[in-house]
Each structure stands twice: as structure tokens, then as C-alpha cells.
Amino acid sequence: MLTDEQRAVYSRLADVLIPSAEGMPSASEADVPTKWINDALGYRPDLVPAFLRALEIGADGEAEAAVLRINSTDSVAFDALGVLTSGSYFLNPAIKELIGYPGQVPSPAYDDTASYIDMLAAVVERGPIFRPTVT
């Protein structure tokens, strides 16, 4: 679990990665640093060390410069920060709704051959395209 201090650093970095723009909320507006990052870190314990390194490297100074510094000094830490931040953002159901992604919900298979069978007739008309066995 992150300390308050780490969370404060993370909040600033996360908002550089995912700002409020294009009608979408920022990472902190979407509760990424306060809620969803906890879940994401639980799903990806392997990324925790690199993520914490990113927070350490990015602890000081202006947030945008800190993000650039993480990327240029430790690309593995930056990857972890990027994956966990975007992954956390998309865990939020309100974000899924805003981007129009229902998630992996069951959507039973159905037969749609009628919608393309006429198109296929043209493929059949073009005829065989294989080389037969040489005997």
C-alpha cells in the first residue's frame, strides 16, 4: 500500500500522463491515485518495485519535468508507471462508460451469414486458387 507521501507524488505524475482534456476527466478526477491504483498494484505485484522507483525518481520538482526525467533515466520504471496508470484509469466503470467500452461482457454468437452470402458468391465465382497435389 502507498504512503500518503507516495500517493501525493503519484497523483501529480498521473495527472501529467492523463490530464483533463477532450471531455475526459484527469487521472485524479477519475480516482486513479486514491482508489484504482490500489487494485491495479494488486493485479500486477510484479510491477510494484519499478512503480515505486518511478515515484522516487519523480518525487521532486515540477510534475511534467519529473515525468520526462523518469522516462529518460529508467524506461522500465516509466513502463510500469504508464501501464499501471492507464490500466487503473480503465478499471473505473465511469471511464469505461465515457469511452463507450462495455468491457468483456457476454455477447452470444449469432449467425450472420445472410449479411455476406451474396458477397461470397463473387469469391466463389473467381474460382479455385490452390495448386493441386502432384502425383
Partner: protein
């Protein structure tokens, strides 16, 4: 992983047949042998993977698929995985270790090879001819398709017998229709993809729910992985399955015949299982690894390796792709993933293209918003983040799909599996190392095909197109490392999978492929395994066995 030997009845001291590996080919062998009255045991290093464990129907899917369900065992590092040294390989091998083998994670594209794939030497003066033809394998394809419950549409003019399938095709959806319209504009072949995914309830499996998570294990149990299609009936028929059993050596008797295997259980205890016949089904990397590990007085260069061909001619199907993005909302996260369409337009050789052989194309959806968002490190931050983060999601999510190219790579003896001198698995057994370079022919082939795939997207109206000419994580198909052929001087096994140097050692996985074709190989691996094992069953009276 559980320690238990999941066997319903005591394991005999000596079994008729010992099968190593419970994956695609091993499952075929075990079921066929058990139902024909053989006493058969299977040693599998992994465990069962219940559908409830898969993440494809859970919110965290896109996060966990990049680790726990990653197809590269070096990334996944699960308890049943063994490391594979890839320092000298252009491509990473992808596989899964457990009951069902790599079919747990496969995309279930169901592709028969073409007649010409069995005759590359005769037709194109490259590679070698297989010791049998498409027509010889055809009835075994059909039988396997019934057991796997393959969904597809009959009448494809790309194949000589225009095969029909036991289940109707899966939906093309908006993605399939869009791509098909592009292909039609160009006059290029396309056909609804055949997939070993149930479009309707079949056998032990329900119909597909289109989660699109096929490559990370099907949470619905709709995908035909062999833990579902073969194992329940095989166990019912009397087969023994030992899970958590990592084989370190195939033993031989005083005549040099295979006599069983030494394996290590998950408590680290070593066991020996004796057998009259040994079947290897540990895949194109696991099988040569075991043979190279099994040196003896009779087989000083590794088991059945007098030709020094064991481990050589590794083929992995370098993969190229073109992803197109469209203005229309296409719901391109919906499954199956799976091939929605395939195209054989450029499958056959046309030397004017500057290379020989060809590739099957497959159309696949593009998944959820996280996609393969990894590996940003070192790239400009504002490419993927900041305002562009939102712009990219809006532009791509639900609006993009991929034409992928399965490039045939030709056999080359310097592409090989060897034993790593230092690296070992968690049981201290030497790990495999891959030496693999993709050839000039393959590189030209991929470049040319990807350029055509770009045209296919343009014709379908894509607004932007991104291409990859060689994906590193694409070694889904592990083929060729114990070549099949008639001549004992130039091949490891005969047309029935029996090793020339050790006739009661039968190899049935993708290792035996004489050439690789440009198709996803599992249909052929399973049909060929069935053909080999059927031959063994029918010729049991004359089959050499250990202990006779």
C-alpha cells in the same frame, strides 16, 4: 500447483504407452490409445487450468494478460514453466505448460495446410516434400474437426475439397464485413475464418460469448482446448494422467529401445515410469530438449540423433501485421480472436514477387482500451500520454482491426534448439536455448505481404494504418526440430512418427513437420498425431516394444 497425481486408479509399473506432454498432440494420442484398450499414462509438467482462473471476463483482464497469461514463458514465469534462452533468437517462443498444453492460450485459428505445402521441393525447389500428401491427411483433418467442434463455412474455393465444418461460422460482425468489402474491391480471396471455437453448444462446451479474450484462455469454455475436448473422455476410457511430472530423461533398454522416463514431481522426488512404447508430445522445443537430454551408450548424441538433426530446422513463423483504424464504430473489441476472416489470395508461390512460398492472412479484432500498452519507455511521453492519451483512445478503440500474415519460414539447419550450458529450470534440468534467424526469403515475403495488407485496409477505407514487419513475441508455432522423412540419413522420424534410430519412440508434436507451411499448425499437428497413433494401434502386432 497441486502435488497430487491425478489418477483415478493405480498406475501400472509398466504401461503399454507412456506419453510425454498433455497438450494438443499428447491429448490425441492418450484418447486414441485408451479407447483402443492400451494401458496409457501421460506425464505432464503442468496442472489443470480451470476456466474460472482466466481473466477474460473480468475487469482486470488487460492488466493481468501482460503477465500471468502472457504467452512467453520467460515473461509469465509460472510454476510449471521452464526458461528458454532467447539471447540468440530473432523471435521469442510462445507456449503454455499444463493439461491442454498451448491450446490453453491459442487463438484457435483452424487451418488445414494446402496440398502444395506437402510438396515444396517438387513444386518450388525449396525445403523437402513430406512423406505423404494432403489427400492422405484429409480424413484425419475431418475426424479431428468433428472432435474439436470447429466452426466454419463450407465451400471455400481455396481448398481442393472445399471442406465443410461441423458447426456454423462465428459472426463476422462489423469488422468482418468492413474488411470483406475491401477485399472484394480488390478482387482478392476472403472467407469466413474457421475456428476451433464453438458457435453453438457442442460436447462439453457452451457457445462462444465473444469476450475476445481467446489468447488468454477462454473463460466461457467455448474454445476447444484439449483439456476440454479430449481429456475428460480419455480419463473416462482409462488413461492415467500424472500432473506436476517434469520429465528429465527418456530411458532406454539394453537394445537401445525407449523403456520409459524419469520425472520429478512437485515435491522434488524423482520417479521412473516404465513403458513398452514412448510417445513424445512435448512440442517443438520441449521434445528436442528431452531427446538431447537423453544421452546413453546406444544414443551417445542424444536419443535417436545419429543424424545430428534433433533440434535443427526450427521454424517459428515470423509474423507481420497491418492494423487499420477506421472512422466507423466497429465494436472491434468483440471476439472471437479467433480469425474473423482468412485470405489465401497470396498463399501460393509467385516467383515474380522476388521470394518463394506465401502466407495465410488472418483478420483479428483489436481488443480493449489498454491493448498492448506496454513498452512506452524511452519513447516520447506525449506520443502516448497527455492530450494524446484521450485522442488515441477515441480514435482507435472499437475502430481498428488487424490483417496478420503467417509467413512460411523454410527449414535451415542452423536454426535450432540446443541445451543451454548454464541455464536450468527449477528442477535443475538444463534449459533449452534457441538459435534462430529469420531468412532473407522470409523477410522479403513479410515485407511484400504487409504491403498488400496495407492495400487491403486502404480499399476498406482505413484512415490510418500501422505496420509491423517482424513481431518479436510471435513464436506461437514451434516446428521442424525432429524432421519427418523416408530417409533415415536425412530425417529423424518416418511418416508415422517412429524414430528411425529407435522404432518404439513415436514423435507426434509439431517437431515432426518437414516444412512449416504458412498456416497455423494445430489442425495439422492433431490430424498427423491421429494418423500416427491410428497406425500404431492398427499395427500393434508388429510394433517393436521394449521388454519383449
Amino acid at each position: 500447483m497441486s502435488n497430487t497425481h491425478l489418477i483415478k486408479r493405480p498406475l501400472p509399473d509398466v504401461v503399454d504407452v507412456l506419453v510425454i506432454g498433455a497438450g494438443a498432440s499428447g491429448s490425441v494420442a492418450v484418447f486414441e490409445l485408451a479407447r483402443n484398450g492400451f494401458s496409457v499414462a501421460c506425464l505432464e509438467q503442468g496442472d489443470w487450468t480451470p476456466a474460472t482462473e482466466f481473466a477474460g471476463d473480468k475487469p482486470e483482464w488487460e492488466l493481468v494478460k501482460q503477465k500471468k497469461w502472457h504467452p512467453n514463458p520467460n515473461v509469465r514465469q509460472g510454476p510449471s514453466d521452464y526458461p528458454i534462452n532467447t539471447d540468440e533468437s530473432d523471435v521469442n517462443p510462445l507456449l503454455y505448460n499444463g493439461v491442454g498444453g498451448s491450446t490453453i492460450l491459442y487463438a484457435a485459428h483452424w487451418c488445414r495446410m494446402m496440398p502444395s505445402d506437402f510438396q515444396t521441393r517438387t513444386l518450388d525447389d525449396v525445403g523437402d516434400d513430406w512423406p505423404f500428401t494432403y489427400e492422405d491427411l484429409q480424413p484425419f483433418y475431418e475426424e479431428t474437426e468433428r472432435l474439436m467442434g470447429v466452426s466454419g463455412l463450407g465451400g471455400d474455393p481455396a481448398y481442393p475439397d472445399e471442406p465443410s465444418f461441423p458447426l456454423p461460422p462465428l459472426p463476422l460482425g462489423k469488422v468482418g464485413l468492413k474488411a470483406a468489402a475491401g477485399m472484394d474491391k480488390l478482387g482478392w480471396h476472403w472467407w469466413p475464418g474457421a475456428n476451433s471455437i464453438a458457435s453453438k453448444e457442442v460436447g462439453h462446451r457452451p457457445a462462444c460469448l465473444r469476450y475476445g479474450a481467446c489468447l488468454t484462455g477462454c473463460p466461457a469454455g467455448a474454445k476447444a482446448s484439449t483439456d476440454l475436448t479430449h481429456w475428460p473422455d480419455a480419463l473416462e476410457a482409462g488413461a492415467h494422467l500424472v500432473i506436476g511430472a517434469r520429465v528429465r530423461e527418456i530411458t532406454v533398454d539394453d537394445k537401445g529401445l525407449a523403456s520409459g522416463a524419469v520425472y520429478i514431481d512437485r515435491d522434488g522426488v524423482e520417479h521412473t515410469q516404465k513403458a513398452r512404447i514412448v510417445v513424445l508430445a512435448a512440442n517443438g522445443v520441449g521434445t528436442p530438449r528431452l531427446m538431447l537430454l537423453s544421452k546413453s551408450e546406444h544414443h551417445p548424441n542424444g536419443l535417436a540423433n545419429s543424424t545430428d538433426l534433433v533440434g535443427r530446422r526450427l521454424m517459428m513463423h515470423p509474423y507481420g501485421a497491418a492494423v487499420g483504424t477506421y472512422e466507423d464504430e466497429l465494436e472491434s473489441w468483440l471476439g472471437p480472436a479467433g480469425q474473423i476472416l482468412h485470405s489465401m489470395e497470396f498463399y501460393e508461390t509467385d516467383k515474380s514477387r522476388g521470394f518463394v512460398r506465401g502466407a495465410k492472412w488472418n483478420l483479428m479484432p483489436s481488443g480493449g482500451p489498454l491493448g498492448m500498452r506496454s513498452g512506452y519507455g524511452g519513447r516520447p511521453v506525449d506520443e502516448s500520454f497527455g492530450v494524446n492519451f484521450h485522442k488515441n483512445v477515441k480514435r482507435v478503440l472499437g475502430r481498428s482491426f488487424e490483417w496478420g500474415v503467417i509467413a512460411e519460414d523454410l527449414p535451415d539447419e542452423s536454426n535450432r534448439v540446443i541445451l543451454d550450458p548454464e541455464l536450468t529450470d527449477s528442477d535443475g534440468i538444463p534449459a533449452p536455448k534457441l538459435l534462430y534467424k529469420s531468412s532473407e526469403n522470409t523477410e522479403k515475403l513479410i515485407k511484400w505481404h504487409v504491403a498488400r495488407a496495407v492495400e487491403a485496409h486502404e480499399a476498406a477505407g482505413a484512415t490510418s494504418i500501422e505496420t509491423t514487419e517482424l513481431m518479436r513475441d510471435c513464436g506461437w508455432h514451434l516446428l521442424g526440430t525432429t524432421k519427418m522423412g523416408n530417409d533415415p540419413l536425412t530425417s529423424v522420424v518416418n511418416q508415422w512418427g517412429a524414430a528411425h534410430d529407435c522404432p518404439n519412440l513415436i514423435i507426434i508434436d509439431g517437431s515432426v513437420f518437414t516444412t512449416s507451411s504458412g498456416m497455423n499448425p494445430t489442425a495439422t499437428i492433431m490430424a498427423n498425431a491421429l494418423r500416427s497413433i491410428r497406425h500404431l494401434v492398427e499395427n500393434r502386432a508388429t510394433q517393436p516394444m521394449s521388454g519383449e
